[in-house]
Amino acid sequence: MIRHLFKLAWNKKKQNFLLITEMFVSFIVMFAVFTLMVFYYNNYKTSMGFDYDNVWVANYTPPQNITTTDSFQIFHQSLGNMVRSMPQVNDISFTSANVPFAMSTNSTEVSFGNNRHIRTNVYQTENDYKKVLNLKMAEGRWFTDADKITGKYTPVVINSKLKESLFGNTAAIGKIIREEQFDEVPPADKYRVIGVAENMKDKGDYQEVENGMFVAIDTGWMRNAGNILIHVKPNADAAFEGRLSKALSNAIGTSIEIEHLDKKLQSKNLLMLVPLIIALIVAGFLIINVALGLYGVLWYNINKRKAEIGLRRAVGASGADVSKQLVGEALVLATIALIIGTFFAVQFPLLNVFDLPAGVYITALLLAVLFIYLLVLFCALYPGRQAAAIYPAVALHEE
């Protein structure tokens, strides 16, 4: 039966060529859309890994008039104490500009053993950073004041993802990580792992978890700090925020902006969702277009074959047989298109284009195959049923 259908399709290859091309292109479009959707959905499913409710971030330009490292340290200490002493504030931590849901990133390349050039985010943190964001530790510990005494290696906390990239399943605590350098100089031993934190999805709901490495701010770096993460009590309102802004402004002397992490998350998500929504609108329109076209062409083809169908009915084929054959023919065309399409689609996981996990591509591929089959089935069903209703006498009479 199936071989017969293939033969029928092959006999009309010229006519079917355009239909197959159309199905092929639709498949590619749907594959792209599904890849995006599966990727987003997978990311959406992974837990955030930290709390952002009631966390604010104050951004400021580091003051220029303080010159020595010592005076900077005093400045930060008094600034920190002032904010901490406010009744609505729970905890604070100075940090680098890559606070959760911010646009700015800060990264470096590290290596361990043969795992070279692993790109990771670097977060400058203080002891209370973990408390502010309610980070969970998988193993080891967070920074304490004891880590401030500079030893040979800088103590770091890494996230689970970076641990896996660097160490696989082996233990990470106490290991020394190297940092890659420019210009082919061999990487130098630099960091000692003291803890592993749970993954933190800090780029937004629909973004992938990335490698992360937390470093305790040292006194030299402090002058670059321009962000304070503040965990406030639930009763902190705009009036308090105004007071906080004024107090910071008086203490720092430069521009202050206070943002709420939940609001930042919203705008970050929007930035990710807008391309998806546009892609869905465009793809939806294309698919409606294709569905109507397929339906029209199949319907027309069946009308043209009335004589053939009438003959088959006359020699004993049932209505269901005829409709099955016509739907089958359409599905065979779809299969040919999908085989070609799959050949191109599997290149994405094979060649690792765009750096997405292979599972995402494979799920998207299966979904797209299913979608095209359903679409073709849907478009062929009604014309097929119509063909089944043809009376042999009428059809043969027309001839």
Binding site: F182, G242, T254, L292
Partner: protein
Amino acid sequence: MLTNYFKIAIAVLKRRKFFTFISLFGISFTLTIIIVTTAFVDNVISNNYPEVNRDRSLYINFLQQRNSKFGSEMNGPASYYYMDKYVNSLKTPEKVAIASLFMPVNAYVNNKKLVVNNKFTNEGWWDVMQYEFLEGKPYTQQQIDNGDRVAVITDDLKKNYFGDVPAVVGKFIEVDNVQYRITGVVKSVPVTMLISYADLFAPYTVSKSDYKSKEFAGIYSAVLLAHSKADIPKMQQEYADVVAKIRPDRKDFDQFKSNADTYVASFTRQMSNENDGTGLSFLITVAVIFILFFMLLPTLNLVNINISRIMERSSEIGVRKAFGASSKTLVWQFITENIILTFFGAVIGILLSFVILQAINNSNLINNIHLSINFTVLMFSLLATLVFGLLSGVYPAWRMSRLQVVTALKAQ
């Protein structure tokens, strides 16, 4: 002849309404999407309020300091000091506007928080940019020199801060814990105008960051206004000559680069990985490929439908051939018919886009944006229609013209 084709086309359209609907749906929606996209792109890149002089302006948005040995780079906007020393001193420009990037700060009124985007400018800003003043006027050079805390605000900020009051010039507004006296109110700018967008404009002398700092890196960008379009290359060259003599101000770098570019190029240059070239051609190539791919599906669809429709008329073709019509005449007839059909689709598409653009303008998707179908957009969409009609008409017409007279007549 053409009227005849027109009549035939209408007759054919009326015959199979479902097919007509599919064709028109495909054409009009494809065009709608293209028109809406081009309207948006056109709004972002062409001369629009307040940057009406964009075609005779050059933009300096960033400096690059580079270490050629290690490949490390520092990219970013320039300091006021740099702009004043190297850009303000150029001879060719008629005017130079220097302004900081817009910087979000907070204002607190009546227990409510407002996010206000601040911009610090020089006096030339108000000559290069044609803001529409609803009340008051810009601050003067004198006020800038005195370091007066004065500001021009947008009508959006006025509404959010003061509510519905008739006039606010002379009143004070507290933003980022600084009291500014308002000298003017301008019509708001959509955020898509990356350079001219802001809520509050103030003299650079009152900015909290030190404008006298001699570092090159800073927060300022500049817009150079030429006397005429013809002066643009000259202005570009003059700046390039100046830049050639500048050495990096930091010891760890040995190369210094900066360019005065047209508006779009000033952004594509930052995104392109190449060290030379603006990346503009790359962007255009990608856009063209994307649009072609997007139009591929509707075109294939239309080709399929057209083949069905034309084959249906094989008896007509057979008769015409039998009476001596050449293949060429027939091909032309069908292409003309198809273009007529696509133009119907285009009219529907333009109406549809008009509705959608109005909806976007009235919704608060992007504040203050005003998208419209202007002449350029219309021309582009008509061109797209023509291409569309040709693409989807040529192959079926060719197939049809090769029909044998006998087969065509027998098919009846």
